[in-house]
């Protein structure tokens, strides 16, 4: 015996099931993608990190902690990465925030479009070519020559940590500007007026209204820049001249030159562990301060 109510219930149940199936089907490609291209390779890297280098290079199965004990041999590379990546992120933030603020709140609608295009235009040229150009700008015939001309001779820029830092800030600034710009643009301007009406100084308004409301953009921008910087390879390679080494450079050496895949895997695992640790700490701190969740753009 079926009542109309019962039938409706079954139909609802059915449609719910169908909905679940649709969700599963829609998520399947992404899930498969992550499994195949993230989790499986990660598992391989972890397994490799306990192996030994085969006689002719590559991986040979074993179970040893040797590779992890050897990590101090790459201490300088870890140190370089762990200082220049956060410092680079901070400088990007200090330069990027005012720029994003100006673009979102101060620039007229017409000039805003023009200025946004200016921020985007460099992306039309390959990042590699632009970094290569910096090799010449920072090289002996570039800025140092100009400095020598006005009375500061013998200044070395290329192949120093400063050169790498300049390259980092140049390359990653747009990635900081955009998320902050988006969060500032979404900001309800009436709140600023209200703050002013209620007697807040401009600085007070900024600190109590603008900054907290743009925090998701700041967090997103910092994470984006920081995560990418931790794996940076090209800038230290070209502007560091093999003298300012990042973990990314050490990894390339270990995998392609010395063919020591197990040690390379251990370095990679250590890098991922440090990154996950740093980011969780960062998110915990920012959340503890009552910020909203990260919004991607």
């Amino acid at each position: 015996m079926t009542t109309p109510a019962g039938m409706a219930l079954t139909a609802a149940k059915k449609s719910k099931e169908a909905g679940r199936l649709a969700t599963a089907l829609l998520l399947a490609p992404a899930g498969f993608w992550f499994l195949l291209l993230l989790l499986l390779p990660m598992a391989v890297v972890i397994i490799y990190s306990f192996g030994v280098r085969a006689a002719t290079g590559g991986y040979q199965a074993a179970f040893t902690f040797e590779n992890y004990l050897d990590l101090p041999a790459r201490l300088t590379a870890f140190k370089n990465t762990l200082t220049l990546a956060p410092v680079g992120t901070l400088i990007c933030l200090l330069i990027g925030y005012p720029l994003a603020y100006f673009l979102a709140l101060k620039a007229s609608a017409r000039s805003r479009l023009f200025l946004m295009i200016l921020v985007i235009v460099p992306f039309w040229t390959s990042f590699l070519i632009r970094t290569y150009a910096w090799m010449f700008i920072l090289g002996g015939r570039g800025i140092p020559a100009l400095l020598g001309w006005i009375g500061f001779p013998d200044i070395r820029l290329i192949n120093t940590p400063l050169a790498v830092l300049i390259g980092i800030v140049y390359g990653y600034l747009p990635l900081m500007v955009f998320p902050i710009f988006v969060s500032l643009e979404k900001l309800d301007k009436r709140l600023l007026e209200a703050s002013e009406d209620l007697g807040a100084e401009p600085w007070g308004t900024f600190r109590q209204v603008t900054l907290p409301l743009s925090a998701p953009g700041v967090i997103t921008g910092c994470m984006l820049v920081f995560i990418l910087l931790m794996g940076e390879y090209l800038i230290p390679q070209l502007l560091g001249g093999g003298k300012v080494f990042f973990i990314g450079n050490a990894l390339v050496d270990l995998f392609l030159q010395s063919l020591n895949w197990p040690f390379g895997s251990a370095c990679a695992v250590a890098l991922v562990a440090i990154m996950v640790g740093t980011i969780s700490l960062y998110l915990r701190i920012t959340r503890a301060q009552g910020q909203r969740d990260v919004s991607l753009m």
Partner: protein, 380 residues
């Protein structure tokens, strides 16, 4: 200017080597990119001749930067209808790793003497079918040392391309001392010319020439001797301008005054800046030879043989030498070279300076300890 023409002009400049950079290539594989771009530019491809049918329409050649005359490739395409896809590498290790990983699609490539036995052992290259390379004639070579490494188990696996030495460049406009030895090099690098020297981003030569400071063999695999070399390298590191195999830009713009260098780079630098000279360390160092080989399972095998034969043809090989500045051992080619090139002491150093030089050994290249020392030196 028509952008397409402009692009082709730039591509030619790139192919000629005036804007190409060894390291740049290593980092990017831009060589491949340029080759792919070239294939989308019909102006670069001469009309295909009917008789070339069995060679196919393309050949993948893998080599080193600044190492060929691009006009030769055009001539080859014009004569056979086969388009040349050139890829360049930064080191023998990478070349080997790539071929070992498989699926490269290479038809011919340019390994260095000490790698050939490794390629044979790993079953990656085929014994050459010499009938397909009629231009190769071992009797025309001035020195059998340059053909020997191509022979493994009495079979010819690779034919000689050119040879050279590894010494160092000195910009005499800045460096006042007369430098003749590796001792001079490492001593001045760590003192008076701190911040002005580069070493190769290549374990074989950088460690080998650090070993020469102590008078050890360039090929030493002795742990104690390698430890000494590592100590010297770590001491020198803060004084180096860079660790790079792409030292021409730094020498050209005056950032670096001293650079560990190969013959052809030294020749190219000296040609443009006469004050840059080339020194072969009195203690010795490296002499090497590059070869043409054909990978097993080359997809356009016949075309691979055809391009090797074409480039070994004396008239074409002469143009190769004029472009890359490395000496060859083929007498037929030497006879065609201009006299001033034959008397050039960078390309053809006095016999006695070559005597103490050593050919790199396969075991030197594959020694894991040397690889790790180099990696530690770089990340120090």
């Amino acid at each position: 200017m028509d952008p397409r023409k402009e692009f082709i002009k730039q591509l030619r400049r790139y192919q000629k080597g005036s804007i190409s950079r060894r390291q740049f290539m290593g980092v990017t594989g831009l060589g491949t990119a340029a080759a792919v771009l070239a294939s989308s530019m019909p102006e670069l491809i001469a009309p295909r001749k009917a008789y070339a049918g069995d060679l196919g329409d393309r050949v993948a050649l893998t080599s080193w930067p600044n190492y060929h005359d691009p006009k030769n490739f055009e001539k080859f395409t014009a004569a056979t209808g086969v388009k040349v896809d050139l890829t360049v590498f930064g080191s023998n290790e990478e070349m080997y790793a790539k071929l070992k990983a498989g699926g490269t699609g290479w038809d011919a490539f340019v390994p260095t003497n000490y790698t050939i036995s490794n390629y044979v052992a790993a079953d990656l290259i085929e014994p050459l079918e010499l009938g397909l390379i009629p231009m190769y004639d071992p009797s025309t070579y001035t020195d059998q040392r340059f053909t020997q490494p191509g022979m493994v188990n009495d079979k010819v696996y690779a034919v000689h391309k050119d040879w050279g030495t590894t010494g160092y460049c000195v910009n005499t406009a800045k460096v006042t001392e007369t430098m003749t030895t590796w001792k001079d090099y490492w001593d001045l690098v760590r003192t008076k010319y701190s911040g002005r020297a580069t070493v190769h981003d290549y374990q074989l030569t950088t460690i080998g020439n650090a070993l020469k400071y102590y008078g050890h063999s360039f090929n030493s695999n002795d742990e104690k001797e390698l430890a000494e070399a590592e100590k010297l390298l770590l001491e020198a590191k803060p004084h180096l301008f860079a660790i790079t195999s792409d030292y021409q830009p730094a020498m050209r713009n005056g950032d670096a005054w001293l650079a560990i260098a190969w013959t052809g780079d030294a020749k190219q630098l000296h040609k443009d800046i006469p004050s840059i000279i080339y020194v072969i360390g009195k203690e010795g160092g490296e002499i090497w030879a590059d070869f043409y080989a054909v990978p097993k399972g080359a997809p356009h095998r016949a075309a691979g043989y055809a391009i090797i034969n074409f480039l070994l043809t004396p008239e074409n090989n002469k143009n190769e030498v004029l472009a890359h500045g490395y000496p060859v051992a083929d007498k037929r080619v030497l006879d065609l070279l201009p006299p001033d090139m034959l008397s050039d002491t960078i390309m053809f150093p006095a016999a006695e300076s070559l005597t103490p030089l050593e050919f790199g050994a396969a075991a030197t290249l594959t020694n894991p300890l040397r690889a790790e020392i180099m990696a530690r030196f770089k990340s120090a």
